[in-house]
Every structure is written in structure tokens, then in C-alpha cells.
Subunit: 335 residues, 2 copies
DNA sequence: TTGTATGCGTTATCAA
DNA sequence: TTGATAACGCATACAA
């Protein structure tokens, strides 16, 4: 069923049918009703391929997320939605697990997939998980409006909502110092992620600044989306001498793995060993004991990203925007 | 930059350029190289709108998920991926939070969005969350191959991979009986979900069969994706007289909310009060104590769904397939 | 091995 | 207020 058949059935021209769809105010009431009835009766649906061949806005925003675990994503999506829906856009979360499994660069995945998806713009969550050299891949997407939500380094060429990891680390270290912890065990996430490198760099800078010493051997690496890795890698930190008095995990999932191991082995948290981390996922509140963790203002971040994207869609020539968000520390029982 | 310009620049016809893209084996080596070079130099990208106007297979499968929480989804997706990727398909998780917020029927959302996305088929997870009357909406999608993964009632008209809730409930009750529990508190999920109705029905059938009495007042309702609701609604069960000796939550998130409340209030689990639930999300293993829960064979389910979908894409006229999967009980410390 | 011509379903321009 | 028709970019049957 296409526009021609509808036209024939309604005894009008294709142009009139098109007007009924796109500019109904230009069509006489009676023909409008007639055509609409025919469309209804025949369950006519517009063909987006043909339509977009004429370069009409799709009103679709796609948000690419690098993994299926970190729940801050949904807060961000919620915030972005709130803004975008005012302008008639639909936001769709797009999560290609396959590309992750294959260690394919995120951007290359987008590039490949964009041929298969309509969109007016892209919110790209987590250059954090992008491999080195992704900037080159990004060029392929030259004409697509993109906003990056980034916990790693600031990219020069793109609009970016940036989460200040320096503050995360500083807040954590200051709090630990205040609590009297001098010996910190660190469980970082995937070694090759920008966010990991960035946090470690900030860790060195800020610990030096505060006069806290963190030995190389006190740092181990887990996998961000694997609770199990937290469970496993903490063991090596417990063999250190002197033993750390607190474990700083780079996200809540790692922290949960750590705590499970500690609880199973009859450690009291935080008395025997404290735990602190980043993300403030809902589970951080409902684990027992509750997890002290860095909170990122997800909804605000989403709203800002959406606004910037709309600006960019509206006018490709405005200057690049960078917005910085600062996290806060959510204190619970684990530390 | 389009196929015509490339043709002109390379001094060949559009047909040849098209062949370079789609049937390179039909093109002479030297022209192939020449055309490819020109395409490269001009950063030529195929226009998917024009291409799909010609009804080419997109090799895209979309999996619609009803909410962003239940992690079994990712197991299923993993299984489905494994099969689909053999045939060159890409599976994409598609999660439209907006439609959920608005309580819009899931199918209506798909219908609206399908105009904006290319796909050869659809894996529809959870008629569980579909509202009554969704079958009518489904008709709109008449021509799209669909496989439903369903924990609720079997739909007559669609290929379905079905999870046997009768067995889930039976296994749970048998285990509780064996452990000597006669007074069971039940925390069901959203009252209007098919999966909830189905489980409650099975609960009545099987408890009767086993001679276990479950009073109406022992059943309260939470919200599947809200840990907090589990935390809150368990309170009323604790005021019952006699007090239940075990809480049966309809999913792990609810169970975690329950356990958080119990642990905060110095209940010993399972000595003072046991907890059992459904889903076996990773966190069920890493909560402390570990949660005894019903395990669904997610990967197997995904593989089966993918295979059925491929069959359907291949031949629209084969009879409807129904496959039933049985869950198992994963015993940990909470019960 | 390559080229010509046509159709895919829609929108937009122009004329009536 | 409506209609005829030319694009849009690509794939393909047919011809050469």
C-alpha cells in the first residue's frame, strides 16, 4: 500500500495525499476526510525510506551506550528525554553488545550501524570505553550532530558534557584522609579505558597534593562490568603488608564484589576494612552495609547533553560547547 | 556525494559503481580498483534510504525490551546473538523508556517506531508487560517476523519461546515445604502484569496441590524494577500474626529490598526469616547472604528465539512454533 | 565486462 | 485547492 494506491482509491492525485500527510491545512475539509478514511481503511503506513530520501528530519535521537551495566546511563537518558520530548524527538538507547564482545571500536560500530538507523543526532555515552585512535573513526561521522558524554579526556572537536574526574578523586581522598586512612588499596577498572587512565592520573596528582602515599603494588585492575572481578582481585590486596585499611573501587559493581568477599570471610565493614567507590547505582544504597560512593548528577548531565545536541542540530556552525559537571560524595556505612 | 558523481569521476557508469559495491566479483580488477579509489578519495557513503527503497535485507534484528532492569535480558541477548551472528545479522537492544513512562502499550510503541528503524525481524521480550488488548495492536505489525519471549500466557498467533512459570512456582513451593516452611509471605510484582497474574494463579494451584495454605493477607504487591518497593512492602508482612517464616519475592530486586530491610533491622537470614525469589541475576550471587532463587536458562532461550526468528524470516508460511523452557532452583544461603 | 533505462515511494515545484 | 511531474540515490533487468 503506497501513496499512489491511496490516491487512486480516494480519487485524488498523489500530491494531494502527500499534502494530507504533511500539510493538511492546504487541503479542503471534505477531501481531507475522504483521503484520511481511505488511508485508515487500508492501514496505510508511510514508507520512511522513500520519505527520507527527500531529507526530512526523522525526529529520532540515538543514544549509544558502551555497555549494559552502568545504571547512571538510565538517569542520563531520563534527563535527556525530558528535554528532547518537548521538541518532539524520541530518544532511543542503542546498545550493541556484539561490537563490545569483539573489542571493536565503539565509533566504528556507530559508523557501521548508522547506515541502518535513522537519526538526527547522536548522544555518545562514554568515550570512556573508546580505544585509542578513535578520533580518526569519528571523522567518518562528520555530518552527524554528536554530543559526547565523557568521563575521560576532553575531545577537542566535539560538543562534550564532561564529568570532572579530578573532583571525584579529590573528594574521595580528602574524605579518606579525614577518616584517618593512610594505606589505600585501589581497584581500578579496565586498564585500557580512558576513564581508568584519567582516574589513575588524578589519583597520583591528588594523593601527592594531599601527602598520601599510594604504592604501585596497592593498585590492581578489575573489569568494570564484572562484580566477580572485584571479588577476585581484592584477594591480592589483602595479602599486602601492611594491609590497606580501605579499598577504593573504581565503580560500585567492583565494590560489591569486594564486599561480598570480605563479608564471606568475616571481615566487618567498615571496622576491619572500609570500602568506597564511584557511581552511586541504586544497589549502592541497598547493599548491606550501604556503600559510600561518588554520585554523578545523571539527570542534569542528560538534560545538558540534550540541549547542546538540539543547538547543534539547529545550527551546525555554532562553536563547540564544553560543559563540566562536578560529582559529590554520598556517605553511607561502608566507609 | 552519490553514486552518479562517483561514476562520473571514475569514468564508468552508475551500474558499474553499484556492482563494485554489491557484486565486486563481476567487475574487472582494474576498474574495481579505479572505482574504489575514487570512492575512498571522496569519502563516499552509501545512502541507506535509497538503498532500502529497493527492499534490500537490512540484516538487522531488533530486540525490544520492556524495561531497563531485569538482567536476564542480557543473557537472552547473548544467546540470540550467538546464533544470529552466524548468519550475518546484527542484534540491537531497543529500549524505549519514554513509552514506558507514558504507560503506552509496548506494541504501540513498536508500531510507531518501526517506521523509523530498519529491521528484518523482531524479538519481543515480555508480553509480560503488555497491557490487555495488545493483540489488536499486534495486527498492525502483520508483516514483520516476530518472536515473543514470554513469561506469561501463550499467545496463539505468534512464535513464542515460553518460560514455564508453573514449574518455577512448583519448584519453589516444594523446596519450601521440604525446608519446613508452612507460613509463606509473598511479594508479587506489578499487579497488572501478565507474569504476575500467571504466577499467582500457579501459586494457588500448586499450594493447594501440596497442601500449603497461603492466606490472601500474606500476599502484597511491589514493583518489579524497584528495589525500594521490596524494602517498603515487606514491612506489612512482618506485622502479621503469626509471622511468616519465609518471604517469597517475585524477583531478585524485590528480594534485595526485602533483605536490606531485614538486615538493617537485625534479622538473621535465613535463621530468623528466609528469603527466596526468581531470576538469578548476578547480584543474587553477590548479595550477602547469597539469594536462593529460580534460574531461567537465558542463553538457551535466546538461542531458541533467534533460531525460530530465522526460520520465520526464511519462510513466512511455516506453522507457528511454541517452545517451552523449564527453570531450575539455584540454592544459596538466603533459604 | 560494462552501460542504459526504469522503478522504488515520497516530496516539492510549478501550473492550472 | 488540486494535479502533473521532476527529482532523491540506488539496484537491476536487459542490452550491448
Amino acid at each position: 500500500m503506497n501513496i499512489h494506491k491511496i490516491a487512486k482509491l480516494a480519487n485524488v492525485s498523489v500530491a494531494t495525499v502527500s499534502r494530507v500527510i504533511n500539510n493538511p491545512e492546504l487541503v479542503k475539509e471534505s477531501t481531507l476526510i475522504k483521503v484520511k478514511t481511505v488511508m485508515e481503511e487500508n492501514n496505510y503506513k508511510i514508507n520512511p525510506f522513500a520519505r527520507n530520501l527527500k531529507k526530512v528530519r526523522t525526529k529520532n535521537i540515538i543514544m549509544i551506550i558502551p555497555n549494559d551495566v552502568n545504571p547512571i546511563i538510565f538517569d542520563i537518558a531520563k534527563g535527556a528525554e525530558e528535554i528532547l520530548e518537548k521538541y518532539g524527538y524520541i530518544i532511543t538507547l542503542f546498545n550493541n553488545r556484539k561490537s563490545l564482545k569483539k573489542q571493536e571500536g565503539l565509533i566504528d560500530m556507530i559508523h557501521k550501524n548508522r547506515n541502518n538507523f535513522f537519526m538526527d543526532g547522536l548522544i555518545l555515552f562514554g568515550s570512556a570505553s573508546l580505544q585509542e585512535g578513535y578520533e580518526k573513526s569519528l571523522d567518518k561521522l562528520s555530518n552527524t550532530p554528536i554530543v559526547v558524554i565523557d568521563t575521560g579526556a576532553i575531545d577537542k572537536h566535539l560538543d562534550t558534557v564532561y564529568i570532572d574526574e579530578g573532583i571525584s578523586i579529590l573528594l574521595t581522598l580528602q574524605y579518606l584522609q579525614k577518616k584517618g586512612h593512610h594505606n589505600i588499596g585501589v581497584i581500578a577498572g579496565n586498564e585500557d579505558y580512558n576513564v581508568t587512565k584519567r582516574r589513575l592520573k588524578e589519583l597520583f596528582i591528588n594523593s601527592e597534593k594531599l601527602g598520601i602515599k599510594i604504592n604501585e603494588e596497592n593498585i590492581v585492575y578489575g573489569v568494570y562490568d564484572s562484580i566477580e572481578s572485584g571479588y577476585n582481585v581484592v584477594k591480592s590486596l589483602l595479602t599486602l603488608n601492611p594491609k590497606p585499611t580501605v579499598i577504593f573501587a573504581f565503580n560500585d559493581l567492583l565494590a560489591i564484589g569486594v564486599m561480598k568477599y570480605l563479608l564471606e570471610n568475616n571481615y566487618k565493614i567498615p571496622e576491619d576494612l572500609a570500602v568506597i567507590s564511584c557511581d552511586n547505582i541504586p544497589m549502592a544504597n541497598y547493599y548491606h552495609p550501604g556503600i559510600t560512593t561518588i554520585n554523578f548528577p545523571g539527570e542534569e548531565i542528560g538534560k545538558t547533553a540534550a540541549q547542546i545536541l538540539l543547538d547543534r542540530i539547529d545550527n551546525k556552525d555554532i562553536p563547540i560547547q564544553k560543559v563540566l559537571f562536578s560529582p559529590t560524595l554520598k556517605i553511607r556505612e561502608s566507609c
